[in-house]
């Protein structure tokens, strides 16, 4: 097996390159608020995306389309590049000087790696929750309010209070913290901290929320709460989650993409997409042998 082999992923979810005008959804709903006009290709679509760190190709040939208001899970053995893919979707990889993305990533049909595009604007619309809870060493209130403030929120103090309350309520944290909004975010438990990070991310009204193994540092009960929260949140947001926990993917996601990693002759590891299917199909009737091997625990 060499890295030159063009691997063909089995993608059960077609991407439709039709122009938005052909979009049947749009055609049917001419009366609705076009604010949320949907591209049939989903909110984010990658096309032949490669991610490099220096000369090292971390992931290759990823073509995926992420649907609106659904939870899409990225699973695979460690080192398969699923986090790398996730970070390429909102240009967080820009923070690593040596990282480079080839191919295209479309957000509402616009390539986010176009030099004309502002990465800051991308990150505002495509928010992110990280593996380890990372609240700012500030008050709970400021943790939520800061992102809103720097993104040009013009409301007065009362309006901000409302935004903070709403975000914390949405993140199912309000009842626990409403009496101690001025306490440090770091004084919360791990699960609460992660929900605070989710509140912080959704307070700025993103379109998509990326979650990079959001429960890996949490205990089972906190994990459960975050999972319930995700399912609630998908009414409003498109969520893409990386998880190393197959049960979690099966529980929460609508669609699942399975990645694997191959070693080339020089020992470099390159991740690639194996299969992308609706979650129930992927876990019950995988189309690829590798997927079946992985979900039945034969490797990984």
């Amino acid at each position: 097996m060499t890295s030159d082999t063009q691997r063909e992923a089995v993608v059960a979810i077609p991407t439709d390159n039709g122009a938005p005008a052909d979009n049947p959804v749009a055609a049917e709903h001419d009366d609705v608020d076009r604010t949320y006009e949907h591209d049939v290709n989903g909110v984010i679509r990658t096309s032949d995306m490669d991610v490099f760190y220096g000369d090292f190709r971390a992931v290759g040939n990823v073509s995926l389309s992420f649907a609106f208001n659904e939870i899409t899970a990225l699973i695979g053995p460690s080192g398969c590049g699923k986090s790398t893919v996730l970070r390429s979707l909102n240009r967080m990889n820009d923070l690593i000087p040596s990282a480079r993305v080839d191919g295209e990533v479309f957000y509402h049909g616009e390539d986010i790696y176009d030099p004309e595009v502002d990465p800051v604007e991308i990150r505002r619309r495509i928010g992110m929750v990280f593996q380890k809870p990372n609240p700012f060493p500030k008050s709970i209130y400021d943790n939520v309010a800061w992102g809103v403030k720097i993104n040009g929120f013009k409301g007065r103090k009362e309006a901000m209070d409302e935004v903070v309350e709403q975000a914390l309520t949405e993140a199912a944290l309000w009842d626990e913290v409403k009496d101690k909004l001025n306490d440090s975010g770091l004084s919360l438990s791990g699960g609460q901290q992660q929900r605070l990070c989710i509140a912080r991310a959704i307070a700025i009204q993103p379109d998509v929320v990326l979650m990079d193994e959001p429960c890996s540092a949490l205990d089972p009960i906190a994990t459960l709460r975050i999972e319930e929260l995700m399912i609630k949140l998908k009414q409003h947001y498109s969520i893409i989650i990386v998880t190393h926990n197959m049960q979690q993917a099966a529980r929460v996601s609508d669609k699942t993409a399975f990645f694997n990693v191959e070693l080339d002759a020089t020992g470099q590891r390159t991740g690639y997409l194996v299969e992308y299917s609706p979650t129930d199909e992927l876990f019950t009737r995988p189309r690829v042998q590798q997927t079946e091997d992985y979900i039945t625990g034969r490797f990984g």
Partner: protein
């Protein structure tokens, strides 16, 4: 467990009702390109520009040092009474008699540096080994801050100490006829004391960077603590220790106040043929001026610009700069090799 809420039916292009509360409205999809367009942030550009400028000032400092030292040295060497050959070969430094040979000053600097290292290396190294391998946290907590206090004391105070304490003691021990009031030994000892904390902290850093697996391996073979420290840890940290000693040496070469006060202001002019090597040339009991001492003494008088004296301190300064730069890069190279060993 079964996830709550309706699951979407596969890949149908179904649209959900959107009820999200809006604080910031996302724009329509139509002009997405326009919305994502790069913003201009002139304020931030100005800030980042000035931060870069702050960083670039350091380059200006280096250029300034090299330029001024070079320019004035050039004036010095092109002066009719100076010859480059004489500067680097003559063993007499007598500006009044237009004798400009740098060796007496280098000799002074070398003598003091060597004495300082004789004092500082054993003390610094032993302290480092003790603190790194033997000391309990309590003992460490007692000694370590004391060594740090030593770092914080201004060198002029060390100079005062050399004159009022060390020199009289040396003269008591060896006799006032043997030891001059200004002498190299007193200055060297005090410079040594000054660089002890430097050497000990760098050596300690190097030793604590030795992986503990190495220590455990040695203990596992039945070695005693001493054997582990001296035969395993110290050799493994040797390049880091050496780099620390070289840094200490560079510090001693550049040290000014102690030598100016304690070693005197007369260059030890010598004649290799007739002067006794140990009785005079290398004698620790006689006075000697160092490169830094000459610069400080010459500049402390009312020095007028564009005189031979003024230019000469820059020529000496350039020599000093080259020596210390060489020592510092040497130590960095040693450290680099050390790092490679453990990666």
């Amino acid at each position: 467990m079964q996830p709550a809420g309706a699951r979407s039916a596969g890949h149908t292009r179904e649209r959900r009702e959107l009820t999200r509360p809006m604080a910031l409205k996302l724009g329509a999809v139509d002009n997405m390109k326009e919305q994502l367009k790069k913003r201009r942030r002139p304020g931030e550009r100005v800030i980042i520009g000035s931060l870069f400028f702050a960083g670039a000032i350091s380059i200006a400092v280096t250029v300034g040092i090299l330029w001024e030292l070079g320019k004035e040295s050039l004036l010095f060497f092109t002066d009719e009474v100076v010859s480059v050959g004489q500067f680097f070969t003559s063993t007499v430094w007598q500006p009044q008699a237009e004798n400009f040979g740098i060796w007496p000053l280098i000799l002074g600097t070398m003598l003091i540096t060597v004495i300082a290292l004789f004092v500082a290396v054993p003390i610094g190294l032993a302290s480092a080994i003790y603190l790194s391998e033997y000391a309990s946290p309590r003992v460490r907590g007692f000694f370590k801050p004391l060594l740090e206090v030593l770092v914080g004391i201004p060198t002029v105070v060390f100079g005062f100490f050399a004159i009022t304490f060390v020199t009289p003691i040396l003269r008591d021990i060896f006799g006032t006829s043997v030891v001059g009031f200004f002498n190299v030994l007193s200055a060297g000892i005090v410079v040594g004391l000054l660089i002890v904390p430097l050497i000990s902290s760098l050596a300690e850093d190097a030793m604590s960077a030795v992986p503990s697996s190495l220590r455990q391996a040695a203990y596992g073979l039945g070695a005693s603590k001493l054997e582990v420290s001296l035969r395993v840890v110290v050799p493994a940290a040797l390049s880091g220790i050496a780099a620390g000693i070289v840094i200490g040496m560079s510090r001693a070469v550049g040290e000014t106040m102690v030598v100016t006060l304690a070693a005197g202001a007369s260059p030890r002019n010598f004649n290799l043929g007739s002067d006794s090597v140990f009785g005079y040339i290398l004698s620790p009991f006689e006075a000697a001026q160092t490169m830094t001492g000459y610069i400080a003494i010459t500049a402390s008088g009312d020095i007028s610009y564009d005189t031979i004296d003024y230019n000469s301190i820059f020529a000496i300064g350039l020599t000093l700069f080259v020596i210390t730069l060489g020592l510092n890069s040497l130590s960095r190279r040693i450290v680099k090799r050390f790092r490679q060993e453990y990666d």
